[in-house]
Amino acid sequence: MFELRSVSYRYPGFARPVLEDVNLTIAEGEIVGVAGPNGAGKSTLCLVASGLAPASIGGDLTGAVRLDGEQLDRRPHELAGTVGMAFSNPGAQLAGVASTVFEEVAFGPMNLGLPVVETVARTRGALGSLGIEDLAERHPGRLSGGQTQLVAIASMLAMQPRYLVLDEPVAELDQECRALVAGALRRIADGDTGLLVAEHDLDLLSELRARVVHIRDGRLSPDGPPAGGRANPAPRNSAPWSSGAPVVIRCDGVAFDYPDSTHALEGVDVEIRAGERVAIVGRNGSGKTTLVRLWNGLLRPTSGRVEIAGLPTASRHVAALAREIGLTFQDPNDQLFARTCRAEVAYGARNSGLGGRELDGAVDAGLALVGLADDAGANPYDLGPSKRRLLALASVLAIRTPVVVLDEPTMGLDADERTRVASVIAALAEAGRTVVAISHDARFVAGSFERSIVLEAGRVAG
C-alpha cells in the first residue's frame, strides 16, 4: 500500500504551499486518477509521490509518504526500482546519450546494475507491452512527439516499479497510440503495479477504470467515482466546400523528403477555401506538421506545387508568407523570448507591419481572446506551460493573418482552457478567417471544425 498522509509541500522560494493536507492511498494493482485544472497541483503531487520532491528539487514537505507503512525518505535512486515517474514532457526525459530507442529504454535498468540478460529482457518486454518494437533501432531524438512519449513510458516500465506515477501520459498521443497506452497501463495494473495517473482526459481515466480524485488549489476532494466517458468521434475525411469562396491553400501533388531521406509526404492534394474550419488528423508521424510548414515556406516541397491565395510559395519569402498564414508551433518554448507577455505578442504583429494604436489594439485583442489580459505585464516564463501555449496562440492571433494554422492547440490544456481555444476558433470563423488545426483531440475536432483531412503515412487517406 502506497499512501500520502496529511502531506503539504512548498517549493523552495515560495511562500505558500502548492499541496495542502493531501491524503491518498494507492493499493497494489489499483489505478488512481488525479483530475483537475492546470495549476491545481497535479504535477506537484506526482513529484511528491515519486519521491523527487523534496529529495531532488528541495522545498518543505510535511506529513508522511509511506510504502507498506514505512516512511519513504530515501534518495531517488533508492526509490527507482520501487516508484517510477513518467513526466509530461517526454523529450526532456531522454537520456541524451543513446543511439537507439532500445538503448534509451535500457538506460534505467542498466543504472540499476542489472545483468545484461535481464536488462535486455526488461527492455524487450517494455517495448512489446506498448507495441513499439519497430522503433527499437530508431534514434530517440528523431521520433515524433507521440513516439517519444511512448518511449518515455517504456523507459519507466523497464524499471519494473511497484508503483508508477504518470503525469499526463497521453498528452501528445494520437487516438491509436492513446488506446495502446491505455491498454498497456491496464495490463500493468493487472500485474499488481499501482498507478497514479494525473490527467485532464477523463475518458482515459474511465477507460482505465481508475478511481478518480479531484484536485483544486492543492487540495484533494474526496475520492470520486470512475469518470464517465464517451467514445471519441472518429475523424472523417470529407470533400472541400463547394462554395464559391476563393481557394486560399492549394497543394497539387506535393511530396516532401527530409535530408535524411525520410519520405514525409507523397502525392498530397489539398484545397482549403476562405472561411473554412479544417482539422488535419492522423497518427503521430503521418506528416501533418510537415504539410503545414510547406504552406508558410518553412519547408519547400520536393515536388509538386503549393499555392497560398493563388500564388505559388516557391518564389516567396517566409517573412512575406507570415503575413498571410499565422502558424503556432507545438512547443511554445521554442518561440518565447520577450520580458513580458505584451512584448511577446507584439513581436509578430510588429514584424507584419502593424504599429502605433493598431499594434496596441491587436496585442490587447490577442491577449483578451486567450484570457491572458491580466497577465500582460508578466514574464512569459512565470506562466505555467498551458498558459504559455495560450500566449503563443495570442502572438499569432495579433498578426491578423487571413489564415490561422494551429499545431496541436489543445495539448496539455485543461477543460476550461480547451473551451477557451474553441471560442477563439469560433471568433475567428465569425470574422471570416480560415482556421486549420492539427489535432489528436477528437472531441475538439468534432466540436470546432467543419471537416477533416486525414493523413496516413504521408498521404491523404481515402
Binding site: L47, S50, L52, A55, S56, I57, R75, P76, H77, A80, F87, N89, G91, A92, Q93, L94, A95, G96, V97, A98, S99, F102, E103, A106, F107, G108, M110, N111, L112, G113, L114, P115, V116, T119, V120, G141, M156, M159, R293, N296, L298, H317, V318, A319, A322, G326, L327, F329, D331, N333, D334, Q335, F337, Y347, G348, N351, Y381, S395, V396, I399
Partner: protein
C-alpha cells in the same frame, strides 16, 4: 587516443611541419573514411575564424621584429609577426579540426563504454557523452526556434541589418529552453536511477582489435618521443 595525441602534439610544438603532419596523418584520413571531412572543415573554420582574425591583428601588428613589412600609424607589421601568427593559426585550425572529427565520428555509447572500461565513473562518462551529444541537440533546437520565429515574420532572408535584429528572438529561447530542459532532465535522470552506486553492465562495447591497441601504443610512443624532442630542443617550439 588519436584526438589526444594530435591535440598534445600541436599544443607543445612549434614550426609548420608537425601540425601539417598531424593534420595529414591523424585528422584528415579518419574524416575521409567517415565521410565527414566537409562538415569538419566548415565547422572548424566557423569556430576558429573569430579567434584567427584577432590573433592575426595582434600578432602581425604587435609583435616586435627586425623585418618591417609596413607601418600603420604607431604600429609596425613585421615578418616575425606574420610567421608567429601563421604558426598559431595553423595550430588553431588543426585543433578545431581534431575536435570536429572527434565529435562527428564518436558515438556517445562508444565513449561511455570506453571511459567506463578505463575506470571512469559512470556519472563522469555520462557527462562526457552528453556533452558530445549536446551539439547536435542544440542545432536541432536552433532549427526549431528559427522556424517558429520565421513563422512570426522574422526575416532571415533579408539584409544583414534585418538578420542582426533577429538575433535576440533566436538566442533567448535557446538559452531559456536549455535551462528549462536541464532542470527537467536532471529530475528524469534521478527517476531513472542515474545516481545508483555501483557498476553498470553495458549492453554493448566497441570493438577493440589487437591492431587498434598496437596503433594506440605506437601513438603513445611517438608522442613521448616528440615531447622529449621538443623538451631537449631538438624539435622546434613556438617562438
Amino acid at each position: 587516443m588519436v584526438a589526444v595525441a594530435a591535440t598534445v602534439a600541436i599544443i607543445i610544438g612549434g614550426g609548420y611541419v608537425v601540425p601539417a603532419v598531424v593534420l595529414g596523418a591523424l585528422v584528415v584520413p579518419p574524416a575521409v573514411v567517415a565521410g565527414v571531412l566537409g562538415r569538419a572543415v566548415r565547422w572548424s573554420v566557423l569556430v576558429s575564424l573569430p579567434i584567427a582574425i584577432a590573433v592575426a591583428i595582434v600578432s602581425i601588428l604587435g609583435r616586435a621584429g627586425a623585418t618591417v613589412l609596413f607601418t600603420l600609424g604607431p604600429f609596425r607589421a613585421t615578418l616575425e609577426g606574420v610567421d608567429y601568427a601563421a604558426q598559431i593559426e595553423l595550430r588553431l585550425l588543426v585543433l578545431a579540426m581534431t575536435l570536429a572529427v572527434f565529435g562527428l565520428t564518436t558515438e556517445a555509447r562508444a565513449l561511455i563504454a570506453d571511459l567506463q572500461r578505463r575506470g571512469v565513473s559512470p556519472r563522469l562518462a555520462f557527462a562526457a557523452a552528453a556533452t558530445l551529444d549536446a551539439v547536435p541537440a542544440m542545432a536541432e533546437r536552433a532549427r526549431r526556434i528559427e522556424a517558429a520565429q520565421r513563422a512570426r515574420g522574422l526575416d532571415t532572408e533579408g539584409s544583414v541589418g534585418a538578420r542582426l535584429r533577429g538575433a535576440i528572438p533566436l538566442v533567448a529561447p535557446a538559452v531559456l529552453g536549455t535551462l528549462h530542459d536541464v532542470e527537467a532532465r536532471s529530475l528524469a535522470l534521478d527517476a531513472r536511477a542515474f545516481d545508483h552506486p555501483g557498476a553498470r553492465h553495458l549492453l554493448w562495447t566497441p570493438a577493440d582489435s589487437s591492431r587498434q591497441r598496437l596503433a594506440r601504443w605506437l601513438l603513445v610512443l611517438g608522442l613521448a618521443a616528440y615531447v622529449t624532442g621538443v623538451a631537449a630542443g631538438v624539435l622546434p617550439r613556438l617562438p
